[in-house]
């Protein structure tokens, strides 16, 4: 081996630039699985699509009930499937982190001077970005079978909720991954996300839910998120229907993000 590369004088970057560069680098790494592993994107896309088509085929007649704002069940249910896809993607980010932990990769990150929140942000934002793929795929299918066009504003709000849901799910998954340091926590990651999304007016409007589910849905922050994502598909977009979803998402991100960061900081305990 040749001896000694010369020392390279590297001007110090401001911290914010370094942090951004680190987040971008971690997101670039995360995309490798999609781009470099054949078929890796398929499960994340297949599950929400099957659920969407299945639920539409099974429960489509529900729109005949009084209380449904739309006669198009596919329009009613498509935001649920998009959020489900986001949930799966976010949970998968947690599973990947657990796998990275088991393989020693996370040690490489933890032994670097990068702040812990930067390391977490890289994982979470990658999930957010990745969630747009299954969301777009299932949305395209929905349009093919007749879902209403939500308008650009409705679409924008829906995608915002999808990306935020993926981020929340990634925080949840990351928290579990860092706590248990094992992929065996994967079912808990998936189940937690799925439960949160389904304990909402997923199948029918709030007024048509059974009393116990109506109570749960009323306190579930994901209900506000779903309603915000759904509004364009079943009517028009209003600020009154949008801001609760934004607040709910911000709250969930704050809580779960803090918990995940706490676990990230406690990996050496």
């Amino acid at each position: 081996m040749e001896v000694a590369a010369k020392a390279i004088e590297a001007p110090a970057s401001p911290a914010w630039r370094t942090n951004l560069a680190t987040i971008a680098a971690l997101m670039a790494r995360a995309k490798n699985e999609l781009v470099r592993v054949p078929g890796a994107a398929i499960p994340g896309v297949l599950a929400p699509t099957i659920f969407f088509l299945g639920l539409n085929g099974v429960f489509g007649a529900l729109t005949q009930l009084q209380g449904f704002e739309t006669g198009s069940y596919e329009s009613f249910i498509i935001p649920v499937s998009m959020l489900q896809g986001a949930g799966f993607t976010g949970a998968a980010a947690g599973v990947n982190l657990a796998r990275d932990y088991e393989g020693g990769w996370v040690d490489r990150l933890l032994v670097s001077p990068a702040p812990r929140w930067v390391l977490l942000a890289g994982n979470v934002l990658a999930a957010s970005a990745r969630s747009l793929i299954p969301a777009t795929f299932v949305l395209a299918i929905a349009f093919v079978i007749g879902a209403e066009w939500p308008g650009l504003d409705g679409l924008a709000v829906c995608y915002l909720m999808v990306a935020a849901t993926a981020a929340v799910a990634a925080c949840w998954g990351s928290m579990l991954a860092l706590r248990y340091k094992s992929q065996s926590a994967a079912p808990l990651m998936q189940a937690g996300t799925m439960a949160l999304i389904l304990l909402t007016p997923a199948y029918a409007p709030l007024a048509l839910l059974q009393p116990w589910l109506e109570k749960v849905a009323n306190v579930n922050p994901l209900t506000q998120v779903l309603e915000a994502a759904r509004q364009g598909f079943v009517g028009s977009v209003t600020w009154a229907d949008t801001w609760p979803g934004i607040v709910a998402m911000a709250g969930l991100l704050a809580v779960l993000g803090s918990l995940a960061l706490r676990e990230m900081r406690r990996t050496n305990v």
Binding site: A10, L110, N268
Partner: protein
């Protein structure tokens, strides 16, 4: 100021004390070999010194910074190649080094330059744009080492860097470690291979069951043990009798397996004829005989009562003598 200073360092996992109050110092620019069997506490110690694990007692500083209170500064000053080569099989070698450069805060242009230089240094230029998943074990270790060097750390931690490698790859890593040290990098190296510690380390600390049982230069440690020993391969059924005979000539050492008798002799090769004569007079057949100079394994045996390596130690100073 020492590059690494450890005082009373402890780590408990529940009731189990994996590291039991160790003290050590590593001067700047030296190679410290941390030698011990599996489960001795080597990796736990390294993980504490590299801030991956919080100590439950004692203090440690690396590059002048406390590992608990100034953890981030420690991380900025150290390079680490851990026991599991923590590599992403989907990344190319070049991508990995660049990512490491970003993690260490290097601007993009500097990171690219550094990646090219390091890949050349570890002879991975040709494979730089191949995925790490296609690399051999030796290539992965070299890449891991290169990644640990991307920010020119003043202290380098290598946790069993050659475990599982073939002899050629091992020697390549050794050369690189020597070169780094020549450049002034302090190296803290854990290993379970005697020859590795013997060949590379300026100072060796021997750890067993969480405690440092011996510390010093390899030569001083071996000199402490003293005399060489004769290793005799005896026919089955006659080992006990052979031990009785040899005990009258020199000090018996713990056996390595059921067939060899080890006896320490004061005068080295000059005592061999005495041993052979005594065994011959007792009617004991000797299948082979070797004069073995003290190794670090002997130091380990002396301090702990058992061998570091179950097999015959690699590269010890052995002179086979025909019977």
């Amino acid at each position: 100021m020492p590059a690494i200073a450890v005082a009373g360092l402890e780590r408990a996992f529940g009731e189990v004390l994996a590291v039991q109050g160790i003290d050590l110092e590593v001067a700047e620019g030296k190679i410290y070999g941390f030698l011990g069997p599996n489960g001795a506490g080597k990796t736990t110690t390294v993980r504490m010194l590299t801030t991956l694990l919080l100590p439950t007692g004692g203090r440690a500083s690396v590059a002048g910074h406390d590992v608990v209170a100034e953890a981030r500064r420690v991380r900025a000053s150290i390079g680490v190649a851990l026991q599991e080569a923590a590599l992403d099989p989907l990344m190319t070698g070049r991508e990995l080094i660049r990512l490491q450069a970003t993690l260490q805060g290097l601007p993009p242009a500097a990171g690219r330059q550094r990646a090219d230089a390091l890949l050349e240094r570890v002879d991975l230029t040709a494979a730089a744009d191949r995925r790490v998943g296609t690399y051999s074990g030796g290539m992965k270790r070299r890449l891991d080492l290169a990644a640990a060097l991307v920010h020119e750390p003043s202290v380098l931690f290598l946790d069993e860097p050659t475990t599982g490698l073939d002899p050629v790859s091992r020697k390549t890593i050794w050369e690189e470690v020597r070169d780094l040290n020549d450049d002034g990098t302090t190296v803290f190296l854990t290993t379970q291979y005697l020859e590795e510690a013997d060949q590379l380390a300026d100072n060796v600390g021997i750890i067993d069951s969480g405690r440092i049982v011996a510390e010093g230069t390899p030569e001083s440690l071996k000199d402490e043990i003293g005399d060489p020993h004769v290793e005799l391969l005896i026919s089955e059924g006659e080992v006990a009798e052979a031990e009785r005979v040899c005990a009258e000539i020199g000090r018996l050492l713990p056996p390595k397996d059921g067939k060899r008798v080890l006896v320490e002799v004061e005068n080295g090769a000059a005592d061999i004829p005495r041993v052979v004569r005594a065994l011959d007079e007792a009617g004991i057949a000797v299948e082979s005989l070797e004069l073995v100079r003290p190794t670090l394994d002997d130091v380990f045996v002396d301090k702990t009562g058992h061998h570091l390596e179950k097999e015959e130690s690699e590269g010890g100073d052995e002179e086979p003598v025909p019977t």
